[in-house]
């Protein structure tokens, strides 16, 4: 046995009169029931129509119906003035079905053979959300938010409300709202209108560590308050702003708190009203920005890059030493250095130091020696001079060879030579000579 898929209505199709494009026969009573999936409507477009024209399409006619209701009765030719022809205008069904009935009488004009019609149809998504509210008083399709999707629609509710089981209306329910986007908009249920009584809503804004939340209340702020001798109190209605490690702030009254920089990546807002009183509520935009790190400072004989005016979480700095200097940290030389601004506003590593490099002891020269000309302890830019033990050895080509401690920690001569010079023996030149005065 073989499983066959359920029959799914086509998304498009074609309808033609019998024997099209040959002339249609007389005495026809042909019907087509077109359908597309639920949530779609049918758009019918005539590519050609040539039906015997008559007043009111009395003899031959194509009738288009939706649920028994006639959407149009057509006959004639697109180029003729007789009959009732749809022209280039498509016919849109209100729903996902459409019925076409083609009727012909027993008599056709002798001189002109009409070929009938050819039409194409396709499924068009219905935007249920933009449909007018039904007149039966049942209310809008969705009580708060309507989202059109292909072939259907979905109802949704504002924060503080949740969708009822009828999938259409919303009920107040504002607990557990967590906002983790870097910016957003919050408002009390029903804002700017007063919500039902006894509201208890909690909003938690929680973003990644290393980011700081800033609340920006709109001017239209209204939470019932009581003025006492000690000032404004919020005994019945309030919005409590809780920031970790700080005392909670209770807000009420008619004056917007404006901007609140929390210096925290988590803020909890608890909105409470009792069963009496009137509060129109509040709304706010929140934004986040990265934590600041202090300027990293300077490195002697080195450079810290980049050097912006401020450093933020996840910013990196790099330290490079001047030529002839090396990076040192905790007494150890390091190849490179980078530090990141952490979520706690601290650099993850302290700055290293730049120490002058040294080339080490110069290679001893066999049958020669080395003399320091300038510099200190073989350090960068120190200059040494090799010499051979004269008169028994000599440098080939020169008397002395100077080497400088270069930034690559090598002793290099003026000719960029790294290897030590070589002392070549002097031959055949005794220091004492056989002389004879007597002749």
């Amino acid at each position: 046995s073989m499983w066959l898929p359920d029959s799914v209505p086509a998304m498009y199709g074609e309808v033609q009169s019998p024997e099209y494009p040959q002339p249609y026969p007389p005495n026809l009573q042909e019907q087509w029931d077109l359908s597309v999936p639920e949530g779609y409507q049918i758009r019918l477009t005539f590519t050609h129509m040539d039906i015997e024209a008559s007043p009111g399409c009395y003899y031959d006619a194509l009738t288009v119906l939706y649920n028994g209701k006639v959407l149009g009765r057509f006959c004639g030719h697109e180029n003729s003035a007789d009959g009732h022809h749809p022209g280039n205008h498509p016919i849109l069904s209100p729903g996902n079905k459409l019925t076409l009935i083609f009727q012909t009488d027993n008599n056709n004009p002798e001189r002109h053979q009409n070929v009938g019609f050819s039409a194409q149809y396709q499924a068009i998504d219905i935007d249920e959300c933009s449909a007018p509210e039904p007149v039966d008083g049942s209310g809008p399709l969705c009580a708060q938010i309507c989202l059109n999707i292909l072939g259907s629609y979905i109802c949704s509710c504002h924060h503080g409300y949740e969708l009822r089981s009828d999938q259409r209306t919303c009920v107040l329910s504002c607990g557990g709202g967590i906002f983790d986007e870097p910016e957003g908009h919050l408002f009390s249920p029903g804002y700017p209108n007063s919500p039902p009584h006894s509201v208890s809503c909690q909003y938690i804004i929680s973003v990644e560590s290393g980011f700081i939340i800033t609340l920006n209340f709109s001017d239209n702020f209204h939470i019932e308050s009581v003025n006492t001798e000690q000032g404004t109190k919020c005994p019945y209605h309030w919005l409590q702003v809780t920031i970790p490690d700080r005392e909670p702030i209770k807000l009420c009254g008619a004056k917007s708190p404006g901007l609140i920089v929390t210096n925290s990546n988590t803020v909890t807002l608890d909105y409470h009203t009792d069963e009496e009183g009137l509060s129109n509520g509040w709304s706010l935009d929140y934004s986040t920005h990265r934590v600041n790190c202090p300027p990293p400072g300077n490195v002697v004989k080195g450079r810290v890059t980049p050097n912006p005016t401020q450093f933020f979480y996840r910013d990196y700095i790099f330290v490079r030493c001047d030529q002839g200097y090396k990076l040192m940290m905790n007494g150890q030389e390091i190849e490179s250095f980078s530090a990141m601004c952490q979520s706690n506003g601290q650099w993850h590593l302290p700055l290293p130091e730049c120490h002058i490099i040294d080339c080490g002891e110069p290679q001893p020269l066999l049958n020669g020696g080395v003399t320091f000309l300038s510099g200190f302890q073989n350090q960068y830019r120190s200059v040494i001079q090799y010499h051979c033990n004269e008169p028994f050895y000599y440098f080939f080509g020169s008397l002395n060879v100077n080497f400088t401690c270069e930034s690559d920690r090598k002793w290099r001569s003026n000719n960029d030579v790294v290897v030590s010079p070589l002392c070549i023996p002097v031959c055949g030149q005794p220091t004492n000579h056989i002389t004879g005065i007597q002749r």
Binding site: F392, Y393, C427, G428, Q429, P430, H433, I434
Partner: protein
Amino acid sequence: ITGGSEAPENTIPWQVLLTISAGRGGGMVIANRWIMTAAHVVVHNNLPVSSETVHIYMGLNDVKTLDHPTAYAASIHIHPNYTNTNNLDFNNDIALIKLKDPITFNASIMPICLPEERDTYLTGLIGLVSGYGLTKNNSRLFSTNKLNYVLLPVVEDNICAKSITSVKDAGKDVPNLTNNMFCAGRPEGGKDSCQGDSGGPYALSDHGRFWAAGIVSWGVGCGEKGRYGVYTRVANYVGWIKKTMQEN
């Protein structure tokens, strides 16, 4: 050295004294690890002597002050064409001794320069011959522990050849003179190298710089009238010397 003089200190710093078994020979320093000498000095009974038996002294002019060898031989390299089987063929009489340890040069030990390859020696040029070999006084040979030297001119090959022929004509067996040899000495005799000087230097000077023109090789008698000392012509062996040093 006959008819010569004792060398003042540091005047012939390339001079080497070789003692091999009971024999004594000369040599010359040519590099910090190499001594050049005559092949017949380091060949005994047609076999190369063992390098362990070669004692090498240098740096002083009095053998009595040399209590232990200055250097030790690591290997001996005799010229491959030296085939003196009957002691009458001194052609290619040249050898090199490689030292175990390099020498540091100073006023008393210094290498002698080598000639250009195929250098020619002008007749009449005065060369310096030195050694610890026999000396002569009133026709009597004496042994000496002092380094002696004598200045001898290069002799024309023909004259030398005639001298040797005359000896042959007298019925004596003497080696042949070849192109690898040259002669030095005075026709009147008296001044010459002698037994024990073999392997030592015959040095020519060029602008105050001495170079090894010859190696004391052989001769008929010592300092005899009409006889000349025969020396290995070093210029003919510069290629072999360099090759041997590079390969070893």
